[in-house]
């Protein structure tokens, strides 16, 4: 509880900082004044139209990826789980890259649509292929690997066949970017999260029971097949929502859950801290992406790992020394 509050406070601080800096700096006091609706017209434009929606998109995308990763790690009982487990990331990459390579001058809406369609199709294929009188976690993971690699291979093939400017555009998309996000991006993610996050919280209990093993869970009254299907659907929809808005910032899904667990000393899946860590990671990474090499701007996906990986490594070494968890 305390951990979550600290994380939330940090998120607000970093968010405001990110809004205040840029080519046209806005002092923090003006940022706060604008956020409560008392800004000047110029600060209104810079904060309200340009920077706030970008920060909000980043926070929500990070939260969605984080929770999705936590769900799949818990489901697969594997610390390396992520939406990759069900082939989603590979499918969405193939969908987006096909649109970029095949359709001349495809817009960002078409690319997002391609990504979501590809991801959902891949997840469906994996789930159907893994179904044999119910879904066993181990089989789901292995089928996911097989399908995922086949899809990734086709994506790689397209990239070697594409002309170099398409290849570069695809590389930017594949890294994940928050460039030029507006309220049009905030609304769909926001509405999606309002539905999916409470659902994930509610499913958290079943997930914690499932972590005890199938037999125990069944004995405690969890309906294995139906529960797994619901969990997979929620996890995939969260990943789809996030991927459509910012591309596959895949690293957040992998790293936010273990960081969150270590921060709040939770033995199993924790939804709220994971969402906050994911959001914080993405928003801070975007701040770095915008300002570190300014005026040059790198995609946010480059920095989520630059920021998150050393932190996780530090947590791991500290944990090893103190023998915690």
């Amino acid at each position: 509880m305390v951990g979550s509050l600290i994380l939330a406070a940090l998120l607000v601080v970093v968010g405001c900082w990110s809004i205040s800096v840029g080519d046209f700096p806005v002092p923090i006091s003006d940022v706060l004044r604008t956020l409560v609706g008392r800004g000047t017209s110029s600060s209104e434009f810079i904060v309200g139209t340009l920077r706030l929606p970008r920060v909000l998109t980043g926070a929500m995308v990070g939260a969605a990826f984080g929770v999705s990763g936590a769900i799949f790690q818990s489901l697969a009982k594997n610390p390396l789980g992520s939406p990759d487990v069900i082939g989603f990331t590979f499918g969405s990459a193939l969908g987006a890259v096909s649109v970029i390579v095949v359709v001349d001058g495809a817009g960002s809406l078409a690319i997002s649509a391609g990504a979501v369609a590809g991801g959902l199709a891949a997840a469906l294929v994996v789930f159907v292929c893994a179904w044999r009188r119910g879904v066993q976690a181990h089989r789901l993971v292995l089928v996911g690997i097989g399908v995922g690699y086949a899809l990734a291979a086709i994506t790689d093939y397209l990239l070697t066949r594409a002309n170099i400017s398409d290849a570069q555009r695809a590389t930017v998309w594949l890294t994940g970017s928050l460039n030029g996000r507006s309220w049009d991006h905030v609304r769909p993610v926001g509405m999606g999260l309002v539905v999916l996050l409470p659902l994930a919280l509610w499913l958290g209990r079943s997930l914690r029971v499932l972590e005890l093993g199938d037999d125990t869970a069944a004995a405690l009254g969890v309906r294995l097949g139906r529960t797994r299907l619901t969990i997979v659907i929620v996890g995939v929809l969260l990943a789809a929502l996030a991927t459509a808005s910012a591309g596959p910032i895949a690293f957040v899904a992998l790293m936010a859950p273990p960081i969150a667990r270590r921060l709040v000393h939770a033995p199993g899946i924790t939804i709220v801290p994971t969402a906050l860590v994911g959001a914080l990671l993405t928003v801070s990474a975007d701040l770095m992406a915008r300002r570190l090499l300014a005026p040059l701007e790198l995609p946010v996906g480059v920095f989520t790992a630059v920021l998150g990986a050393p932190y996780l490594l530090w947590l791991l070494t500290r944990e090893a020394r103190t023998g915690d968890l």
Binding site: P79, V141, G146, V147, A153, T171, M255, L298, L313, L316
Partner: protein, 331 residues
């Protein structure tokens, strides 16, 4: 059970021989089988003989060695982390090699395959040492979960640095995108000579590790009680994986699929015993790699599809079918 495994191993060996012959005989250019045989026994310097001797023969040997190396490295990695999702890349080998190659292209402007080899080897070695060190700090030495997380984190970090370079410099991206898919094309005797020592030493160490790894599969305490030196076993496993996967990546670029799936296929036939798993993986690896390469040579004539793409595109669906059909043997 023992005789079933022995027969299985003999069958896989025969399939491997057939695949090797096919790899010498089939290619973008059609050459009659008699000519192929004569090129090897009675070389006359004609173009067709040159194609077989200078292109297909080294390519086949590289495929053979690299396939074995990747299969065995995968088996070792899954055993030491006790994680079915582990592949040799988890030690950061391919991320480290890729980053070193990108640096070579971007900073030094290097563009030849045999020069990439040294950079890739150094990158792979440095990264896996770092991952092992990070994974084994503190009490109890290397712990499987910590090793896996450290590897994933460091790989992601290097991957980010790699992508920031290729995003900033289009020319580097243009060269790198062909290396990173993984290919056997253009791998000649020079490259073979560069990586063979690493791969052979790696295979020898791997064979020696099968007993201690079997003991480790029972859990650390049981392994200690059986007289296994747990820390040393883990260290040597990481050394072997680095030599095998590092050498393979240096020769052909990152080919992820084989290290991950071949051990699972091998386990279907021989179960989790490392003494059988390692030879099975060593033979199934090149079967998968070379047969994918053969298909890649003929599927898009006169162009070729890189083997890194073909292994996954062909192997993925087959892997899924097998997983569905058979009850998977766990680790």
């Amino acid at each position: 059970m023992r005789s079933v495994r022995a027969i299985g191993l003999a069958i896989v060996a025969m399939v491997l021989v057939v695949v090797v012959i096919a790899s010498l005989a089939i290619g973008t250019k059609s050459i009659p089988f008699g000519t192929v045989v004569r090129a090897l026994t009675d070389f006359d310097g004609s173009t067709e003989h040159m194609v077989v001797r200078e292109l297909r023969l080294p390519r086949t040997i590289v495929g053979l060695l690299v396939g074995s190396a990747l299969g065995v490295a995968g088996a070792l990695m899954q055993a030491v982390t006790r994680n079915p999702l582990a592949d040799p890349g988890l030690l950061g080998v391919s991320a480290g090699a890729s980053f070193a190659v990108v640096l070579a292209i971007f900073v030094l402007g290097i563009g030849s395959l045999s020069a990439y080899v040294w950079f890739a080897l150094v990158g792979a070695a440095v990264t896996s040492v770092a991952v092992f060190a990070l994974g084994s700090i503190g009490r109890g030495g290397a712990n499987p979960v910590r090793l896996a997380l450290a590897g994933a984190a460091l790989s992601a970090l290097l991957g980010s640095l790699t992508s920031s370079i290729i995003l900033l410099d289009q020319q580097t991206l243009d060269q790198f995108r062909f290396w990173v898919v993984g290919s056997l094309a253009g791998r000649d005797m020079t490259i073979l000579g560069q990586v063979t020592p690493f791969l052979v030493v790696g295979l020898v160490v791997a064979t020696a590790l099968s007993r201690p790894l079997n003991a480790l599969a029972l859990g650390e305490d049981a392994a200690r009680a059986l007289g296994t030196r747990v820390g040393l076993t883990r260290l040597l496993t990481v050394v072997a994986v680095t030599l095998l996967a590092g050498g393979a990546t240096a020769a052909c670029g990152p080919i992820a699929f084989i290290g991950l799936t071949v051990p699972h296929l091998a386990r279907l036939v021989c179960g989790p015993d490392q003494r059988w798993l390692i030879p099975f993986s060593a033979m199934l690896g090149p079967v998968v790699l070379l047969s994918s390469d053969i298909v890649g040579r003929v599927i898009a004539r006169p162009a070729e599809v890189q083997v890194g793409i073909m292994t996954a595109a062909l192997g993925g669906p087959i892997f899924v079918l097998l997983v569905r059909r058979v009850r998977m043997a766990s680790l």
